[in-house]
Point group: C2
Chain length 129, copies 2
DNA sequence: CGGCCACATCGATGTTTGTCAATATCGATG
DNA sequence: CATCGATATTGACAAACATCGATGTGGCCG
């Protein structure tokens, strides 16, 4: 699979209201943590996968460029000079974004057009509430 | 500097209403992109720096664990067994989160307590609207 | 069909990153 | 002060990643 979808958020497992102050006066430390409500390893992996896709300055620029383009779409021939990198590199970054489900690719004649996937961007925003 | 703060969002530079359909019927491609409204390289670097801090499964788990802890704080002695990695590794990840401004570190006696920084998490959510 | 253009893939390379063992620091306590 | 427990730092190493040049692929057009 290319785009795992089990995205977790930091807030959907609400802080334990029942995990209130332990009897003692906060002096103790180790052993007071409840691991069962927190994000599991698998969820964390899937979420990190999505975040890694956007945790790169070039890919952020690409997303921003696509968004500010007319029709919210852009092709490699426009994006390449805009970020100042080689064409293979830009193509690589666009592939990462595509595999993460953040953009779609559509071949129209000789050019490949890329568009944002709003729902996937919503997923990103939702991670941090 | 450890925590750059010039965070950019994908939406604050709104899509150009004035960059409407070019006269032709969408046949042309190259040269139709307006780079001046999009995210600049420096903003992209600063934003990517913050995103890199959370684009790791272990660090996501740590944030989630801290959040679901009583008092929204936790120490290394609790976090280490919870993620199943060595103590130096956990300490390293917590340092990354601290330098990104996502958590604060407070030494209380022998232990180091970590808390979330809500405003910084808001910054993250704001990137994607 | 033959060439050309936009784009994708491959292979190589230098850099960054996650991890651990070993060691150092820091604070409490006897 | 000597020691011990909790945490931080260092050094080393392997895996992952960003980048580019070279090459492959897929459509247009003469």
């Amino acid at each position: 699979m290319t785009a795992p979808k089990l995205i977790a958020t930091l807030t959907d497992s609400s802080p334990r209201a029942d995990a209130r102050a332990a009897d003692a006066g906060d002096v103790a430390c180790c052993g007071t943590l409840t691991t069962d409500v927190a994000m599991g390893r698998e969820q964390a992996e899937a979420t990190a996968y999505l975040l890694k896709a956007v945790a790169d300055p070039v890919r952020l620029q690409l997303l921003s460029l696509i968004r500010s383009s007319k029709g919210q779409e852009a092709c490699v021939c426009d994006l390449t000079p805009a970020v100042g990198l080689s064409q293979p590199t830009v193509s690589h970054h666009l592939k990462v974004l595509t595999e993460a489900g953040l953009v779609t690719r559509e071949r129209r004649g000789t050019w490949a057009w890329f568009r944002l996937v709003p729902s996937r961007l919503d997923d990103l925003a939702a991670i941090f509430r």
